[in-house]
Structure formats: C-alpha cells, structure tokens
C-alpha cells in the first residue's frame, strides 16, 4: 500500500478538507434547528424547540408531509413491483431487443429532469392529473424503476440457478419454486431497490414543481416555495428531519448489503 511521506500527508490533508466540505453544511443545519433565535446564527445562542413546534403545528406543512409520504409509499410499491418483474424477465428471458429494453428502462436515470418534468406536465394537463396524487405517483415511478432494476438485476445475475432446479426436481411446481427459493434469495436486491425508490420519490423536487399544482403539494415543493426568495429559518427544522430520514434509509440499505455479503461469503 502507500508509504507515509510528505506527499501522502498532503493527500490526507486535502482529502479530509474535502470530506469536511461534503459533510459540514449538512450537520451545521442540525444545531441551528434547535436555536431559540429568530435569526440563523452560529453557534446558536439558546436552545429551544420552537422551529419544530412551528413545523408540527402548521397544518400546511403537515399536509405537505402527508402528501410526500403517500406519494413515496405508492411509488415504492408500484416501482418495486414493475421493476422486479421486469428484472426477472430481462435477466432470464432471451427475446429480441432485450438490451434495448434494458437501456430504455435505465434511461430515466440520466434524463435531464426538467425535460421529463415538462413532458409529464403537457400530458398531465390534458389528462387532468396535475395536482393529483396519481400524477405524482406515476411520474415518480418512472424515475424510481431504474433504481429497482439496477438492484434486482445485480442479485439475479449472481444467482445460482441450480437451486431452483433442485427444488423443481424435488417436486415443487414453478410457483412454489419462485415463492420459496427465488424470492427469498433475491429479496435483498428488492429491498435495496425499494429503499432507493422511496428516497427518489420523497426527495424529488423538479417534477413536483410542475405536477404538484396547488392540491398535491409535496414537502420538497413546499420547501422550494419557502426558500426561493429568502432564507426561511423554520426550514432548518424540516431539513434536519429530512437528514435524519435519509440517514435511517442509508443505514437500512447498508445493513441489507452487509447481510447479502455475509450470505455470499458463507456460500
């Protein structure tokens, strides 16, 4: 590995500065959210929960939070179902145009979001889906499907098919084999895909700006509206809660990954 000398010390120094740059703004928000001051100042002068209290007592913010959760949960269900089925079909199937379909499924990942947002918007205006949960769910599902497919195809590609064959030889039918053998083995991929799908929808903003209208305002859209023109100190409490949620989801996905690796190495 690398030997310690002046140059390596320099790289270490530089890298820790970069890590600080990446993490610092995220964590400065949390102490600020407990400030008792009406202005954002650091270090905070006193401790209070007033910004949290304001958030939890403002029905508009609570409604937006509900919208975000409902949209994200249904997006997760729909994207996980469609994405998992498609992954099994893509990895196992041998049909014409398979790689083209695969590329199509992954393409929303790199599509400029404003382009997708206005394409959805034009369609949804005609279908009266602007400002509805349904509009947000189907738009977010398009964004979330690639993440499910990436995660599920990854476990499927490393899947030992002799296990399924053994089950079938021992008398299980195809449905039993799928439910008792295949599904449990690919479930880590499905769960990570689902977590990605959830956070993709929950944190999505650009499509929400176009599709939320006035009757399905998501939390991100509400934040956007309130920080667009000035810095709203109340947002620091919501931002802290969102940071917490992201970390919880990140830790869950890490636990799933570790377990899969343990299983793999045990094999």
């Amino acid at each position: 590995m690398i030997t310690f000398n002046k140059k390596t010390a320099l790289i270490y120094c530089f890298s820790w500065m970069v890590f600080a740059y990446l993490i610092f703004p995220v964590f400065i928000i949390i102490p600020l959210s407990f400030s008792s001051s009406l202005f954002l100042e650091f270090p905070p002068k006193g401790f209070s929960l007033m910004w949290y209290k304001r958030f939890f007592t403002d029905y508009q913010w609570i409604d937006a939070t509900k919208v975000s959760f409902i949209v994200a949960i249904f997006t997760t269900l729909l994207a996980t179902l469609l994405g998992t089925m498609a992954s099994v079909g893509l990895v196992r199937g041998r049909f014409f145009g398979r790689n083209i379909v695969y590329t199509l499924f992954l393409s929303p990942m790199i599509m400029p979001l404003v382009v997708m947002a206005i394409a959805f918007y034009f369609l949804f205006v005609r279908l009266h889906l602007v400002g509805t949960y349904m509009g947000l769910i189907i738009a977010h599902t398009t964004l979330a499907i690639p993440f499910v497919i990436v995660n599920v195809t990854a476990v499927l590609q490393g899947f030992d098919r002799t296990l399924e064959n053994a089950a079938m030889n021992l008398g299980a039918n195809r449905l039993q084999t799928f439910l008792r053998i295949t599904l449990p083995l690919i479930s880590p991929g499905i769960f990570s895909g689902a977590l990605f799908a959830f956070i993709t929808s929950f944190d999505e903003i650009i499509i929400a700006i176009f599709i939320s209208g006035t009757s399905a305002v998501t939390l991100q859209k509400k934040i956007w509206d309130s920080v667009r023109l000035e810095i709203n100190p109340m947002v620091s409490s919501i931002a802290s809660l969102l940071i917490l949620l992201s970390i919880v989801i990140l830790i869950s996905s890490e636990i799933i990954r570790r377990r899969t690796e343990k299983y793999r190495s045990a094999k």
Binding site: P112, I118, T141
Partner: protein, 283 residues
C-alpha cells in the same frame, strides 16, 4: 449441467419472461416515451410543421448565451470535481478497508440527502447575513459582508457539493482494481514517483476518469435548483429558461424546443462516450 439449466429455462419460460417485462414496458411507453415524443412534436408543429422555435433559438443571442453558459458551467463543474475528486479517490483506494469504511461515510451521507436540503444548507452558510459572513464580521476579518452567493462562487460551491460523489464513486471503483505490483515494478525499474504516476497509474485510472466526467457533465447540464437558489443572473442555465418558458410565459412550443436541444446534447454525449460508462450489458 449449466447448459441444461439454460436450455430448460429457454424453452419453458420464454413467453413467460416477455410477459414479466411487459407491464413495466407498457408503463414506460405510455408515461415516459409517449410524452417525450409528444413534446418533441410540439416543438416542430404549430399546427403545421415549422422550425420557427429553433430559428428563434438560433437567432436570439440571449438563448445562445444561456446555452453556452450551461455548457461552460457544466464543463467547469466537471473539471473542479475531477481535480478535487482524483486525490480523494486515490486515497480511498489505497487505505486499509477500515479507514476506507470511515472515510466513505463522508461521501455517502451527503449523497443520500436531498439536493434541496443541501442547497438550503449552503444558502444558510453563504448568505449575506449567513453564518460565514457573521463569523468573519465577528472576528473582525472583514468590515462588510462578502457576496458569497447569488454569483458564480455560490453556485459552483453548491453544484460541486452535489456532483462530487458521482465523480468519486466510479474513479474509486477503477482505482481499487489497480494492481499495486505494477506500481512497484515501475519504481524498481528506476522510474521516480512522478514518472510512475504519469506513465502507469494515470493510464490505468483513465476509465474511472472518463466515466466520472461523463456522468457529472450529463447531470450538470440538467441542473435547475442550484442555479436558481445559489446562482445569480449570469448563472442562469437552460433548465431555468425552460421552466420559465413553460410555467410563466406559457410558451410551450419554444420550451419544448429548448428541452429537445438539451435532451439531444445529453443523448449525444451518452451515445458518443457509451464505452466509457460501465453500463453493464445483460449477460
């Protein structure tokens, strides 16, 4: 045995597999491909075939300027990410797994946190009455607040913060596959550290560099939130103009034309540099 399994799978479930792909395929064709195609048509018909939106784009210096700006900002964001990310990726690939586990947390946590929250955090830090300014004033280092956002500085700080992990991950992945025996061989054959880096390490890591740059550039040209929140008037990007055309000016045809131009740039980049992405083909 393996062949047998494959043959069995092929015969029994060929139609079944296509059936599994169909729901997602139909969903994406109606909800994603169709509206995109419709949007492209909208930029070309009004109601008869016309190129007027594209002519307007080419003949209006403001739009050309925004387009040029978008490319310029994306290029510099990519360059900054590369220069900042390369040593970090190198370090991540070289340290012990335990240290790496600790270090990588600092890259992954911000990566998972919403873009809007991170941009908001930078607004709080860089604003006129923001934390940096008030600290500097209190320490007596400056006498009047510095302008740290609503300009290019603020926007690059915010953009690089979002994009850097996308540069670090692919570079780190390639660098951790580099065989250190080659580096040792080069050193023992008399090359100095600099020569070894230029002639051995850099060429071996070039795949990670190109993948990272491509991903970062493509993401950057579509940026919308960061230029709106942290940039000034000079940092307006094409996405901001598209939003304005569609939401405020209700100029759907022209908005669509701009969106199609942006889409074309992204797609051309991907087609042109596809071999540098590690988009795995299905086995």
């Amino acid at each position: 045995m393996n062949q047998l399994v494959r043959a069995l799978g092929k015969d029994k479930i060929l139609s079944g597999n296509l059936f599994l792909v169909l729901p997602a395929l139909l969903f994406l064709l109606t909800i994603y491909v169709y509206p995109l195609a419709k949007m492209i048509l909208m930029s070309l018909f009004d109601p008869d075939f016309t190129l007027k939106h594209y002519q307007e784009f080419i003949s209006t210096s403001v739009y050309i300027k925004v387009f040029y700006n978008t490319i310029k900002i994306s290029f510099f964001s990519t360059l900054i990410c590369l220069v900042v990310g390369y040593p970090v990726s190198f370090l991540l690939a070289s340290v012990s797994p335990k240290t790496r586990g600790l270090m990588i947390i600092f890259v992954i946590i911000p990566f998972w946190i919403s873009l809007l929250v991170r941009n908001y955090a930078w607004m709080v830090l860089l604003g006129r009455n923001g934390i940096f300014n008030s600290m500097l004033l209190e320490l007596g280092l400056i006498s009047a607040p510095l302008k740290l956002m609503y300009n290019a500085f603020g926007m690059y700080v915010g953009m690089v913060h979002i994009l850097l992990p996308y540069m670090i991950f692919p570079m780190f992945a390639v660098m951790s596959g580099i065989d250190w025996d080659l580096i040792r061989a080069s050193r023992s054959l008399g090359a100095n550290a600099f020569q070894t880096f230029i002639r051995v390490y850099l060429p071996l890591s070039i795949k990670g560099i190109s993948a990272g740059c491509l991903i970062v550039f493509i993401l950057a040209i579509g940026f919308f939130i960061t230029p709106a929140l942290l940039g000034g008037l000079k940092e307006i990007m094409i996405s901001n103009v598209i939003e304005n055309q569609v939401s405020n000016l209700l100029n759907w045809g022209f908005g669509s034309a701009l969106a199609f131009i942006l889409l074309t740039v992204a797609v051309l980049m991907i087609i042109g540099f596809k071999k540098y992405l590690f988009l795995e083909e299905l086995k």
